[in-house]
Symmetry: C2
Subunit: 401 residues, 2 copies
Amino acid sequence: MNTYPNFKFTVNHRASDSRARTGLYETPHGSIETPAFIFCATKAAMKGIAPTDMRAANTQIILSNTYHLMLNPGSERVAKAGGLHKFMGWDGPMFTDSGGFQIFSLGHGSVAEEIKGKRSGSRNKSLVKITEEGAHFRSYLDGSKHLLTPERSIQIQRELGADLIVVLDECTPFHVDKRYTERSMLLSHRWALRSYDEFARHNDGKQALYGIVQGGVYPDLRKIGTDFVNSHDFFAHAVGGSLGATKEQMYDVVGMTMENLDPKRPVHLLGIGGISDILNGVEQGIDTFDCVHPTRLARHGGALLRPSLHPEVKPNRREHINLRNAIFQEDFNPIDPECACSTCQNFSRGYLHYLLKAQELLAMQAISIHNVFTMNRLLTDIRHGISNNNLAQVKQYWLAS
Amino acid sequence: MNTYPNFKFTVNHRASDSRARTGLYETPHGSIETPAFIFCATKAAMKGIAPTDMRAANTQIILSNTYHLMLNPGSERVAKAGGLHKFMGWDGPMFTDSGGFQIFSLGHGSVAEEIKGKRSGSRNKSLVKITEEGAHFRSYLDGSKHLLTPERSIQIQRELGADLIVVLDECTPFHVDKRYTERSMLLSHRWALRSYDEFARHNDGKQALYGIVQGGVYPDLRKIGTDFVNSHDFFAHAVGGSLGATKEQMYDVVGMTMENLDPKRPVHLLGIGGISDILNGVEQGIDTFDCVHPTRLARHGGALLRPSLHPEVKPNRREHINLRNAIFQEDFNPIDPECACSTCQNFSRGYLHYLLKAQELLAMQAISIHNVFTMNRLLTDIRHGISNNNLAQVKQYWLAS
């Protein structure tokens, strides 16, 4: 019996000189052309962008974070509204994470503070405690105690109702040793099986479950991690765990992981969103990416732009310009003369610079729309590059300074 | 010679039982059907709404405030960008005020604080001083000293380049005596003539000048004020000065003013934006209105709604509901089932309630769009009501609880 009767992933074209591939990812809320970028509507809302504007910027798929939604408004209320799609007015494919990432990043942040000796009153208690059962943590909103088990994560994600959902894992921090990484991976595997069992008990065909590959930066552990997910009935895989401390190490880790993953399943790279990182990930065979980077950058005035379009900014290796910079005060050109987004059609760099200085809401919104449009344009170029066997030219176009 | 060759105001239909009228107001950036509402893009931006979304919400005309723009980014920079229309990406009709209103409201606010004994350090100096020459004031941004003369106000408004511009006047506060009101009116008349002369010296046909009727709540002074503007070559008139302390007094003052104003010229009522106030103003013969109310209200969670659509909210005489109210937590209906705006098509009251609680930017934006759309719907209904001789029914529809 097919666990996922309403989902299908078809590889359409493979690059001759890398693992890059294009595909069609079919879900109950429509299809995604891959490689694709998944935008973060963290709390069931894109910050300052309506779903219709996300569509107009060619967005295929968005995600929301289980951690935030379980605390507010609660998955029960989202279910009463008819699920996340109806609740937030997005009718396309959606992804939710397990809730683990935010729990653990808060927890490890707290540990980090302890190591640095920044203890003060109640702050020196770690915000997260991991047991075999699950992750015990306190709400960032009101300090209330919660326990997220693999079963609970799946129950919440079922109530939220996204198309693509994820097993609970422990997100290991950087700088832990191999022994810790291995133990953590094995715990995550046990949690993954409990997640799958909970998923299978109530599977109505509307959701597809992702397994996560752990193993940190260690090739032998990554091999165990990939063998684990390949051998279980997940619809898709996500590359998780520590990807190392540098870009080079990240590329290595993604490479060693992709070598062994089942090529028939779609693969998501968690939390990576830089232009060069995406191009590298695509060459390793990654099908989908997600990151808060494009929209968070926008809220701080950063507009995505390939380096050769901003020779006036030194150093110009960066993949964006900061519109708060005074050099844009009387620059009445669009952010990007090649961009067809509504922001570049209507607003100049100088106007956006002014809006940022005047703290007008419209600035964040307009730059966010440009960045979303630009990410979608990058991924469209990448798909064309793979189909036309000229991905190298696409890479040159987007990265050359 | 016609001072205003590119402007035309045509009355199309008059109500039989009131001074209500429909008209077509032609400007170099397009025509406005009147009665019309002018939305406040205070600092050359609607807070959280792109010009394309303003258009989609049926907006005909917007205004920006000279006071804010002269201080930041400065009219010179706006001129370098090609004027306000190009600077902010709005290609329809625009209105700017003289800058006086904000200067004087800040100044009188300061005086009010002195009266209440709230003196502290440098705060006890009034922020504004009026001389025959103009208004001396300090910037709210950096405390720098400025002098706004009638000539300077017109120069700035010329550099900004709105279609409709306004003479500088002294905005008299409430609660001044008749003697003060009269002296203030006569000063405003001298300033109006200086404004007109400056306007005429550089008139290129692209802008139309408004005269302002002063006179406070006093019928004899209002008569002098209306005679003054009627007898000079203004394209249009604005009802300014104190309109009294209550709604009844405001209706009286507007009524006594409208009785004597030249019926061939369009008339603007400054700063009035409630649904019932607009309906009353229309019956008095007002052609255009402006107010921050619809969008400011939205940013605090208030969604415009005619009273009969929210019987569950007590008292239900109000013209809006506050979506922060917990009764909307699980109300998954649109704000207004009769509304065709993008917000009512895509979002529920419960979702907007959640967004407000979660402090998501999208809440302000979505409710603002609803309120803009609703104001434009009200004015469309009013125009149809006048044309079809059933304004009373329109009034009943929008106000009955």
